[in-house]
Symmetry: C2
């Protein structure tokens, strides 16, 4: 949970900075940059509005700081996947997707931010693409390309496959408010999560794999 970049030299006011960043990340990812107000963040974080400007120069830097917390999550993801570097591409892909789901449940802000800014375009998307998910997407696309070359995946456009799998996978995570109001369902229970993982891996991904590949993944 903690970002142990240096030696964590004991922080007193860093505690509040972290709390502010957390609140900011949640709100930014749900509502987008302009819909979020400094006063609102301050209130939820339980500090004065001026405190925000003590810890972060301006709203833009607060946003960046919140996003960089997410980039640590992605770095960890890369690290975990690197150990499977030698497995066949289709197996790596399956592993990556499972890990992607776990991370998305643990850090729902990540998927929301991608959806939000990926629709809007503009400077913030550029920044996110460079600092957050650019390499991840390219790596995933490489995996898809190799899996297709191996004959394990149906030959669809790799970029399309990556985006479609991702958006399909995080749909019910991102749209939790919609699921509540429209279906009266809360998708964030242990059972629901498990079913969702099955749906994505044995539903979506299975539909994209060739027959002999699916057999490999069965239990």
């Amino acid at each position: 949970m903690k970002s142990a970049a240096t030696v964590t030299p004991l922080g007193k006011g860093d505690r509040t900075a972290a709390r502010i960043r957390e609140v900011a990340l949640d709100q930014f990812s749900r509502l987008g940059f302009e819909r979020v107000t400094m006063a609102g963040i301050a209130q939820v974080a339980g500090v004065s509005q001026a405190t925000l400007h003590y810890h972060f120069a301006d709203k833009d830097q607060l946003w960046r700081s919140a996003m960089l917390a997410l980039s640590a999550v992605i770095a960890e993801e890369e690290r975990l996947l690197a150990v499977a570097r030698d497995a066949p591409a289709i197996a790596q892909l399956r592993m990556a997707l499972r890990l992607f789901l776990q991370i998305s449940w643990r850090h729902p802000a990540l998927g929301r931010i991608i959806a939000l800014e990926g629709m809007a375009g503009g400077e913030r998307l550029e920044w996110l693409s460079q600092h957050l998910f650019g390499t991840r997407n390219r790596r995933l696309m490489g995996l898809v390309e190799r899996a297709i070359a191996d004959g394990d995946l149906k030959p669809f456009s790799p970029a399309q496959v990556v985006i479609t799998l991702q958006t399909g996978a995080v749909g019910i995570i991102n749209l939790r408010p919609l699921l509540r109001t429209n279906f009266g369902i809360d998708p964030d229970t242990p059972e629901s999560r498990a079913e969702h993982e099955e749906l994505v891996l044995d539903g979506l991904l299975a539909g994209l794999t060739n027959r002999r590949a699916t057999r490999k993944g069965e239990r």
Copy 2:
């Protein structure tokens, strides 16, 4: 394209109102309510800012009016699907998904708005659920339930299936800006659209159907 509620009694200033609504719909769906400014809409629409308030009482009503233009689209969708009412559920579902894709390409604002407000929650989501996509989602869920009962669809949670299919299907439509900056690809070409339809129908949906059902859909 035109909302022919009454007899379209010839409108002169209605023309500009429609143009404003169009610009507003595009921007609202990309950016969300608060990110959009009345001045911005006015500029793109080529009118003065005060003109917006002549045609629409306030920003909120402009938003509602823009959204109601979309509800006409959904009504048309319902009408087209009603003719297949007697087909097996799985066939209707396949048809509905294909139609859904066509409509999403034609009116990309629809999927964007659902994603945007579905993440944010709040009053606007309530409104949209009631006036725009509530019945559509419930109807789709009913289809999924019947298809599962028929043994044609794997028994996943119907609501999850509906949301996952929808979000997966519109992913590359909504995230066009991301696809451009991150992959350097523009997904909105005739070839790309065709491939996408194949990906969704023969990839995603096929993965959720049982074997005997997929055979029915092969060419």
